[in-house]
Structure formats: structure tokens, C-alpha cells
């Protein structure tokens, strides 16, 4: 780094001192503040004070003999490993300690991996997956014996994920091998520090845990770019490319800018638009997202570090990663949907101590200005989102039970103690532990798994005997699961990136789509690769990647409700919100602006149909849950077909004739009685659970994930997770992994805890019912975003017959009515525009 800081900050010294006192610790600081040194000089200083006598040193085949493995640096990002190694090596050289340092990730060559198992370096930079893999070898008991420190980088990234659970389990194992090991974590600021601390040091920490905070606050300078004339109706769906001119002007004003968008598609669109407006920037701007070829991504990252680029359009793929010193501005297009994410992204600029971060916010629609104000307020009040903990997931435990049996046969009590020492499994029930151990030995359900032996119970100890089982298990260690992706490659060679299999399946020869900022024409799909050539013109297909829609966090949602309350009360507003006044006046005039203790229900009945809008302002997933629940309960009694549309603010129920209920009775339809059962049936829970089960089946080792070079002899072991799901449901319905899948659907996907809170809040609120004459600023985005998700109770056979009838009658009438409704929707929009003076 060019600006090498020589004198240590107080908080860094504090970290070292507590390390040397034998404490565990959690360091909270944003990137670029000197976190690495704060953590790393702990073990190095420790060595200077108390070196290990030479007799314990490892004799290495290559190079001089060095101290045995003393320190581990766990990084969640493989891409970060090399960069981290450089920074750590710098300190080792600087202090002149005789340590060897190596990295170990899935990219490490197998010969080096082998050597590391037998004669490990003194310090290792490692990913959680590689660590677990190392722990699965019997040698690990010897290798980790002298270990003094484990440091986990980006702990906030691992928290609340199954990778975090995997790390907790690995740490528990390490502490059993080396009981005095100190655990240190590095984290960005998060809402629930206690949870972060306990997950790190475990349930029964051997030593006190210090919380170290960097005293310097990184200042965030947020600028809002508002369009000159706010459209009366916030448009939905289309991100505001309208703001292109302003964005380009901002890019011009800085040396180097990161432009964050929320989805990969928007990244592609913005990159194209900027390039079209400024063709002279070709070669100086770049694109970065998770579906691009790793070579391309690495190239872009290096070019940013070297200061070669004026701008990079990117997604969360650049949220984390190496220091981008040259970046001095971040542009966020569209709401980041969470305060932590906003801070993280802003922190990618001004990346050195003492400099402030500069963030320019470009709202995608008018209401996002409120979201930004809410985030701004949350930052100043230090209300950062919490990371919800996952409670004792059994799939991870199944994997762990096999991994540990590979390393060393264990007795049940030993296993239980070790697992319960983690925070995640502190309350693991005896019967669940029994089930997991039974499941890996006998399948858990005696008559159903006669020929099953993964782990054998041998004189009271669990062990893996079958070599093939151990080989396969090691291949599938980890909790990162991904859907089938197809490589996209030029005919001449040169890899561009990946598209999802489902998208590739729909591509026809000659279809054009954007990827990596290039317009590509599909030539053919062969050998799992989409072969393309460059082309000109307009795209005919848009790749779809899963995981685009982040719901508004509950902290931010509350902030939004507070601002809306302020607007309703006509309190003095910040400048940015002044811009919304016209829009809000209209809402007030045509309907109502709900206060904090009110719930707004709007209804619009015309010859197009009957629409009912309910605003919970609680984020997309809650809206979805509420919508599905209402539609399900109503259609069960009224036998009608209801469509649902949702966004972060509310939901719309829609029926071509009549929804058939009185708005005043909504409270009754939203009762919390039998909530769980109803919500599960309403959302076609089997389908959701089946999808969720994919990851669980992979983690628990129920399927053999094929590897590219797999031999033919493995083919008869291929089964889709969906088939496994069916087999379990039919022949082992009590299997706990099925329950886990449905629990995860409820808590993660549907966020049932938030749904319950929202329902309780609604019960206690005053309900305001308004019959509309035209679409309001609140309801219009819902009308536009209408998803036609029909809730009905026909059987599949009935449905197919119906579809077939429709097809046979010809699609003509359907398309006619579609264009008609589209046209009238546009017309409705126009009319309401006209009525405004």
C-alpha cells in the first residue's frame, strides 16, 4: 500500500494486548481501517514473546524447516486468499519471524495439498471448505496440535449462513485438538454483536472474549440525484435509465467509480447504456457480476487496483473483496434494500484510513427516496441490520458426522459434547443427535435402509470403513450449492460467463442476449456449453438469474413507515423528501397516507375487475406471504380465482369479477389462527419445499453431485434431488431432513416471524378503508407489477385439460384480450395524468 501507516492506532494496540493476554476477540471495523494488522500482529507478537523450541519444528521437504502450524486465517472468499497472503507475508517479513505462509483453497494443486497435510506451513490462509476437508484426514490430529490462533476474516459474511455453521463446527473440532487456541474474528459493523461473538467463541469459551472497535468512524457522504421532474407515478419494473445523463456526469467528475446495481440484468443494461452514450469510453469502463468467467472478473479487479478504469458497473459481486484504493466514488442505482449493504458498498470508495466514503444514490422510482432517507437515518443512529442465526440445521450436522468419522472414530458422547460446544447447536436435542447418527449409520428407519452403510458403528464408535464412501464424501464437503449453470463460450474459444440451464434450454439458434457487456448470438449448445458469436442489433432474450429480488430489511421497513408517518403528519421534511410532496399530496387527495398506527386498505372496482390493495410496508416477502394467505383463505370459501401482485410496500388482490369480500372484514381474513398451516398450503408449499430440499440433499450427502470428469461407473448413481424428495416423502416421511426443508421455507423464504409481527401490528392498528376512483401513487406500481399467480383448487389433470382446450381454441382470442388489457392499462395511466392540473 502506498500510504503505509507507521504508528499504530490505540484500538490496534488494544487488540494485540488482549491477544497476548490469551483472550479471544472480535474486531469490528470497516475495510481499509487496518483490521488485518490489528489481528495478525497478535499471533506474530505472541511468537516473538514465546517462540516454540526448534525440536517441534517441521522438517519440510522443500525449503528450510519452519515452526509447525501455529496460525490459521480463514477467509470466506477464495479470490481474497492471494491478496491476504501478500498482506500477511508483509508483516512476517517486516518482523523477521521465521514463519512459512501458504494458502489453501480449492484452487491449490493436489500435490501441494498433500504436502500441506504431511508438513504444514506455520501459517495458512484457508477457506472454510478447505479447512473442513483438512480436518477430515486422520493427520489433522497431529497437524493442528500446536495451533495457537485461528482468525476468521469477514465473519459477518459467514454469520447466519450454513458456511458459518460449518466454520463453527470446524472451530469446535480445532479446539478439541488444541484446547488453548485463541479465536479471533474480523467483522464489519452489524446489529447483533453478541450473536457474532458467541458464534465465534462457542458456547463454553475457554477464555474471555474482547470486543475491539476501531475508534475512527468512516464518514459516509451520501448524495442524492433526483430527476428534475418526478414522474407523478413511480414507475415500476424498469429501472430508471432516465437518469443516465446524471450518472454519466457523476462518472466524469470522479477518477474512478463503482456503479452498483441490484441485479445482473440491470448491470448488463446499464453498461450497454453508458457505452452507447459514451462510445469513447470503450476499454475504460468494465462490467463485473457473478455470472462472468472468473478470468474476466480477475482481470477487471486487477484493472481497478491498477487504476486503469474510470468506471465498473457491478452487482454485489464487488461488495467484498480486495482493496480498491483508486476508487473514489460509488454510485448506487436503485435501493440497496438494507442499511448494512449501503454502508458496505459506500465503503468500497475512499478506501484508506481517514478518508470519507462517497456514495451517490440514484433512485429507481420515487419511493426509493424514502428508503434512502430511512437508511441515512439508520446509519446516523447506528441501527444496522441483524444477521439472523440459523438454528441447528441437521443437514450440516449429517455432513459433519461423516467428516468427523473419517478423521477418527468417535463415541456418541464425544460427538455430542463437541457439537454442543458451538453456539448453533448449543441446544441440540438428544433425539436429534441420535437421529443424525442413526441416519448416517442405518438410515434412521430400519426397514427402509437395509443395504445402507455410510458410517459403521464399530464397538460403540462411529467410523467410515468403505474407501469409496470416504472418497465421495470428501469430494462433496461444503455447503455452497449452486444450480446447473452452462458455460458461454465463443466459437473461437474465449469464455465469457455462465447462464442458468433453464435459460439456455429456452434459447433458440440465432437468439441474441447480453452477457459480459457483449451482445451474443447463440450458435448451438453442445457438451454443456452455449457456443456463441458476437453480433449486432438488439437482444431477443434476457438471461434470468435467480436471486435478484432482495426484500426490504425490517429495520429499513420501519424507517420507511416512520417517514411516511412524518409526511402524513405534515412534519418538516429534509430536502430530498420535499421532492416527493407533489406525489404525496395526490395520495392524500385521492386516498390517504397511513400513520404509524394505521393500516391503509384501498379498493378499486371498475369494469376491468375488482382490486384490493393492502399496505403493510414490511418488505416483499411479507407482502407475498400476506397476499398468498388472503387469496388462499378467500378462494377456499368463495371458490373464485384471485391474482396477486406484490412489492415491498404492499399487495394487491385482483379478480376479474369480484373478490367477494367486504374490505371491512379483512381483519377476520388475516387472523393468526392456523396461520402456519394455511400459509403452507397457500404457497404450494410442496413445490417450495422441494426446491429448498435441493440444497439440503446436497449438504446431507443424499445425492452424489457429479463432477465434470466423473467416470461412467458413477452414472447409475445419478438422481435428481427432486426424485430423492419424492422417495423420502413416500417411503420415509418421518425423515427430519424433510421437516428441515419446510422449516427453512417458513423461516427464511417466507420470513414467518416477520409475517407474524406484521399481523400483530395490523391487529392493533386503526384500519382506514378507501374506495378509489382511480389508481393512486401507492397502488399504481402494484397494478403495473401484477403477477398472475393463480390460486385455485383444480387437479393437475383438470388443469392440463383446460390448458389443452385453450390451446385448441386457438390463442387468438387470448392474445386479443391481453393486448386489450395492456392498452387499457396504459390508457388508465394517461387519463389520470391528464386529470392533474
Amino acid at each position: 500500500m502506498a500510504t503505509r501507516q507507521q504508528t499504530a492506532f490505540d484500538w490496534q494496540v488494544q487488540a494485540w494486548k488482549s491477544h497476548w493476554a490469551g483472550h479471544h476477540g472480535l474486531i469490528l471495523a470497516s475495510t481499509g481501517m487496518g483490521k488485518t494488522k490489528a489481528a495478525w500482529l497478535g499471533p506474530l507478537g505472541d511468537w516473538l514473546q514465546d517462540p516454540l523450541s526448534q525440536e517441534h519444528w517441521t522438517h519440510r521437504k522443500r525449503g528450510p524447516s519452519t515452526p509447525p502450524l501455529l496460525a490459521l486465517w480463514i477467509t470466506p472468499l477464495r479470490a481474497l486468499a492471494s491478496d491476504t497472503c501478500l498482506a500477511l507475508e508483509d508483516c512476517i517479513q517486516g518482523l523477521g519471524v521465521p514463519w512459512s505462509l501458504e494458502q489453501r483453497t480449492s484452487d491449490t494443486s493436489s500435490s501441494l495439498k498433500q504436502r500441506q497435510r504431511q508438513s504444514p506451513p506455520t501459517a495458512m490462509v484457508i477457506t472454510p471448505e478447505s479447512l473442513t476437508l483438512m480436518l477430515s484426514y486422520p493427520e489433522s490430529l497431529e497437524t493442528f496440535k500446536h495451533l495457537r490462533t485461528v482468525i476468521v476474516d469477514e465473519w459477518h459474511e459467514l454469520l447466519g449462513s450454513k458456511r458459518g455453521i460449518q466454520t463453527e463446527l470446524a472451530l469446535a473440532r480445532i479446539s478439541r485438538i488444541a484446547p488453548t487456541v485463541r479465536r479471533w474474528g474480523l467483522s464489519a459493523t452489524i446489529g447483533n454483536i453478541d450473536h457474532a461473538k458467541y458464534s465465534l467463541v462457542g458456547q463454553s469459551a475457554s477464555a474471555p472474549c474482547s470486543i475491539i472497535r476501531s475508534d475512527q468512524q468512516r464518514l459516509i457522504d451520501i448524495e442524492l440525484v433526483i430527476p428534475q421532474a418526478i414522474d407523478r407515478f413511480p414507475w415500476a419494473g424498469h429501472i430508471g435509465l432516465v437518469m443516465l445523463k446524471e450518472v454519466i456526469a457523476k462518472i466524469e467528475s470522479a477518477n474512478s467509480t463503482l456503479v452498483f446495481t441490484n441485479t445482473r440484468n440491470q448491470t448488463e443494461l446499464w453498461y450497454q447504456a453508458i457505452l452507447r452514450a459514451r462510445p469513447d469510453w470503450a476499454g475504460q469502463i468494465a462490467i463485473h457480476h457473478g455470472s462472468l468467467a472468473p478470468e474476466l472478473r480477475t482481470w477487471v479487479e486487477q484493472a481497478i487496483v491498477d487504476g486503469k478504469l474510470i468506471a465498473v458497473v457491478c452487482t454485489s459481486s464487488l461488495d467484498l473483496g480486495v482493496d480498491f484504493a483508486p476508487v473514489d466514488q460509488v454510485i448506487q442505482v436503485g435501493s440497496p434494500k438494507g442499511t448494512a449493504r449501503l454502508i458496505q458498498r459506500a465503503g468500497r470508495s475512499g478506501h484508506s484510513p481517514g478518508r470519507s466514503s462517497k456514495l451517490v444514490f440514484v433512485p429507481a422510482h420515487a419511493f426509493e427516496i424514502i428508503e434512502l432517507e430511512a437508511a441515512r437515518q439508520a446509519i446516523s443512529q447506528k441501527q444496522i441490520e441483524q444477521r439472523r442465526a440459523i438454528d441447528a440445521p441437521l443437514d450440516c450436522l449429517v455432513q459433519h458426522a461423516v467428516t468427523m468419522a473419517l478423521a477418527k472414530p468417535y463415541a456418541k458422547q464425544e460427538f455430542l459434547e463437541e457439537v454442543r460446544s458451538t453456539y448453533a447447536y448449543r441446544n441440540l436435542a438428544d433425539e436429534h443427535c441420535d437421529w443424525v447418527l442413526d441416519f448416517v449409520t442405518t438410515g434412521g428407519c430400519l426397514h427402509a435402509y437395509k443395504d445402507f452403510h455410510r458410517v459403521a458403528l464399530d464397538f460403540g464408535k462411529y467410523a467410515v470403513i468403505d474407501q469409496a464412501v470416504s472418497r465421495r464424501h470428501r469430494m462433496s464437503i461444503g455447503t455452497i450449492t449452486s444450480d446447473m449453470m452452462l458455460q458461454v463460450q465463443y466459437l473461437k474459444g474465449g469464455k465469457i460467463g455462465f447462464v442458468e440451464e433453464s435459460f439456455a434450454a429456452k434459447l433458440k439458434e440465432g437468439d441474441k442476449f447480453l452477457l459480459g457487456g457483449k451482445l451474443l448470438e447463440m450458435v448451438w449448445i453442445r457438451e454443456g456449453t452455449v457456443w456463441v458469436r458476437k453480433t449486432k442489433g438488439d437482444p431477443t432474450a434476457v438471461p434470468r438469474w435467480l436471486g435478484g429480488n432482495m426484500p426490504l430489511s425490517s429495520e429499513l421497513a420501519l424507517g420507511v413507515r416512520r417517514w411516511i408517518d412524518a409526511i402524513a403528519r405534515k412534519e418538516p421534511l429534509p430536502d430530498s423528501l420535499q421532492a416527493l410532496c407533489g406525489l404525496m399530496d395526490l395520495q392524500r387527495l385521492w386516498s390517504h397516507i397511513p400513520r404509524l398506527d394505521e393500516v391503509l386498505v384501498e379498493r378499486l372496482t371498475n369494469r376491468e375487475g375488482d382490486a384490493l390493495m393492502l399496505y403493510g410496508f414490511e418488505g416483499r416477502s411479507v407482502s407475498e406471504g400476506l397476499g398468498a394467505l388472503l387469496a388462499y383463505r378467500i378462494s377456499k370459501e368463495r371458490k373464485n380465482t384471485i391474482s396477486i401482485a406484490v412489492n415491498d410496500y404492499g399487495l394487491m388482490l385482483y379478480a376479474p369479477d369480484s373478490i367477494g369480500i367486504d374490505t371491512k372484514s379483512l381483519v377476520h381474513w388475516l387472523s393468526q389462527k392456523e396461520l402456519q398451516a394455511d400459509i403452507l398450503s397457500s404457497l404450494n408449499a410442496t413445490e417450495l419445499t422441494r426446491r429448498r430440499f435441493r440444497d439440503i440433499a446436497r449438504i446431507a450427502g443424499l445425492i452424489h453431485s457429479g463432477t465434470p470428469g466423473q467416470s461412467k461407473s458413477m452414472r447409475h448413481l445419478q438422481a435428481s434431488t427432486s426424485m430423492v424428495f419424492d422417495a423420502l416423502k413416500q417411503y420415509d416421511p418421518a425423515n427430519l431432513l424433510l421437516w428441515q426443508a419446510s422449516d427453512e421455507v417458513l423461516s427464511d423464504q417466507l420470513q414467518i416471524h416477520r409475517l407474524k409481527e406484521t399481523l400483530t401490528r395490523m391487529e392493533e392498528s386503526r384500519w382506514v378503508h378507501v374506495d378509489l376512483k382511480q389508481w393512486t401513487p401507492f397502488s399504481f406500481p402494484l397494478m403495473v407489477e401484477r403477477i398472475r399467480d393463480r390460486i385455485g383448487n383444480e387437479s393437475l389433470a383438470q388443469r392440463i385439460r383446460k390448458i389443452q382446450n385453450q390451446l385448441e381454441q386457438g390463442t387468438a382470442s387470448e392474445s386479443r384480450s391481453l393486448t386489450k388489457s395492456k392498452r387499457s392499462a396504459e390508457k388508465g395511466n394517461m387519463q389520470s395524468r391528464d386529470t392533474n392540473p
Binding site: F439, V440, G443, G444, C445, H447, A448, Y449, K450, D451, F452, H453, R454, D466, A468, V469, R472, H473, G701, L702, I703, H704, H716, L717, Q718, A719, S720, M723, V724, D726, A727, L728, Q730, Y731, D732, N735, R788, R790, S795, L796, A797, R799, I800, R801, I803, Q804, E808
Partner: protein, 220 residues
């Protein structure tokens, strides 16, 4: 559902079986598949094998059948052969000694021919040609057809055909189906725990969907 195909009168069943006169045809049972998985350390519960066999026996009881022809892949793999499977198979055969149990061997039946013969199965290593019929496992390749074979009607399996029925503009649902082509019929897999392969039929083909115990004719 009774259909006429190239002058043959045959009956299709939602289970995936076909009856012609007194002969019943099924394909791709993949018996013992769960055991194959279990022996390889994958915890898949048993049950599908037994159910598949019961379904088959049920067919034989309800129809006037004197000959059963399995169009390949009766078993999933040699290591899936267990005592349980052996006794289930022999019980089935002993219960109906008057029926001729025949197998046109498929790729998955390799190395299991002798075991099956020992139980009383008639195992054919090559396609069977009888009258205007040809019975085989893998569908014939179009290019390899000769004038003689073109005149025959082929019944085969191997593909596990399914059709992606469009539920609405965004979603499709895979449904097992008979794939009826100008001179061949591909049977859906009869096995209870097998995957399917989505086919891309031509205009001249006909598809019969097997869904929830019903058969639905689908015009391509």
C-alpha cells in the same frame, strides 16, 4: 385407452403399460435402484421397487394376459440384486406360472441375464421380431432403418419420455407420456423411482400423457 396404430389394435394404460391381444408390455422398471444407492452410501429409502412389482402383478391379475414382455432395464444395476429382490421376483413368477416372463435385455440388465434365467425369465439379448412387430429396448435410429424394418411397428423404452406441459406462460410441468411416432411407440418408464427425459416431439407425432391415473391425448 384403445388406439389403432399401423393396423395394430393396442390398449394403453396410465401405468405406462401396453396390451396387445394377450401380451403385456412394460419398459424400464429399474428394480433394486434404491439398494444400488444405499450400497454406495446414499440414504435413499427402499419401497419403490416393491411398489413397482406390485403394480406389475396387479396388471397381470386384472387382464387376460399369458405373456409379459419387459422392454429392457428390468433391473437397475447388478449390485442392486439383493435377497429381498430375488424372493420378490420369484414369488411373482411362482404365483403366475402360466405366464411367459420375457425380457428384451436393456443396457442396465447387463451382467444380470443368468440370474434372471435362473428364476425362470426368458432373456433375449437381441431385439425380438414377430410378425409385423419389433420389440426392443433402445429406440431405433432413423438412419439405420431399412425397408424391412420400416414396415414393422417398433415398441421400445429406454428414453423414459416425458412432456413439458405448459401450465401458464412461465411454468411447465413434466408429465410421463407415451411417445407415438409414425412407426414406433416409446413407452414411459414403468418404474416407480426413475427420472424422465423431456422429449421434443414432431408435428407428425402423437403424445399420450399419463397423469394421476388418467390418460390424456395431446396433439402436437
Amino acid at each position: 385407452m384403445i388406439i389403432e396404430h399401423q393396423g395394430h389394435c393396442i390398449e394403453l394404460f396410465p401405468s405406462g403399460a401396453i396390451r396387445w391381444e394377450k401380451t403385456l408390455f412394460v419398459a424400464d422398471l429399474h428394480l433394486g435402484k434404491e439398494s444400488v444407492f444405499q450400497k454406495s452410501g446414499l440414504a435413499i429409502p427402499t419401497g419403490a421397487t416393491q411398489k413397482t412389482l406390485l403394480d406389475l402383478v396387479g396388471h397381470l391379475e386384472n387382464q387376460p394376459i399369458d405373456r409379459l414382455i419387459v422392454l429392457g432395464d428390468l433391473l437397475h444395476a447388478p449390485i442392486g440384486w439383493t435377497k429381498d429382490l430375488e424372493s420378490m421376483l420369484s414369488d411373482a413368477i411362482q404365483a403366475r406360472p402360466e405366464i411367459r416372463w420375457e425380457l428384451v435385455a436393456g443396457n442396465h440388465d447387463r451382467r444380470s441375464h443368468d440370474r434372471l434365467r435362473a428364476l425362470g425369465w426368458l432373456v433375449h439379448s437381441d431385439p425380438l421380431i414377430e410378425g409385423r412387430w419389433r420389440w426392443m429396448h433402445e429406440p431405433p435410429e432413423e438412419d439405420s432403418q431399412t425397408i424391412q424394418t420400416r414396415a414393422l411397428t417398433t415398441l421400445c423404452g429406454h428414453l423414459h419420455p416425458s412432456f413439458k406441459v405448459p401450465l401458464d406462460t412461465r411454468r411447465t410441468q413434466r408429465v410421463r407420456c407415451f411417445w407415438i411416432r409414425p412407426n414406433s411407440i416409446v413407452l414411459p418408464a414403468f418404474g416407480g423411482w426413475v427420472g424422465t427425459h423431456a422429449i421434443d416431439p414432431k408435428q407428425s407425432d402423437r403424445i399420450v400423457l399419463c397423469v394421476e391415473g388418467e390418460l390424456i391425448d395431446w396433439k402436437c
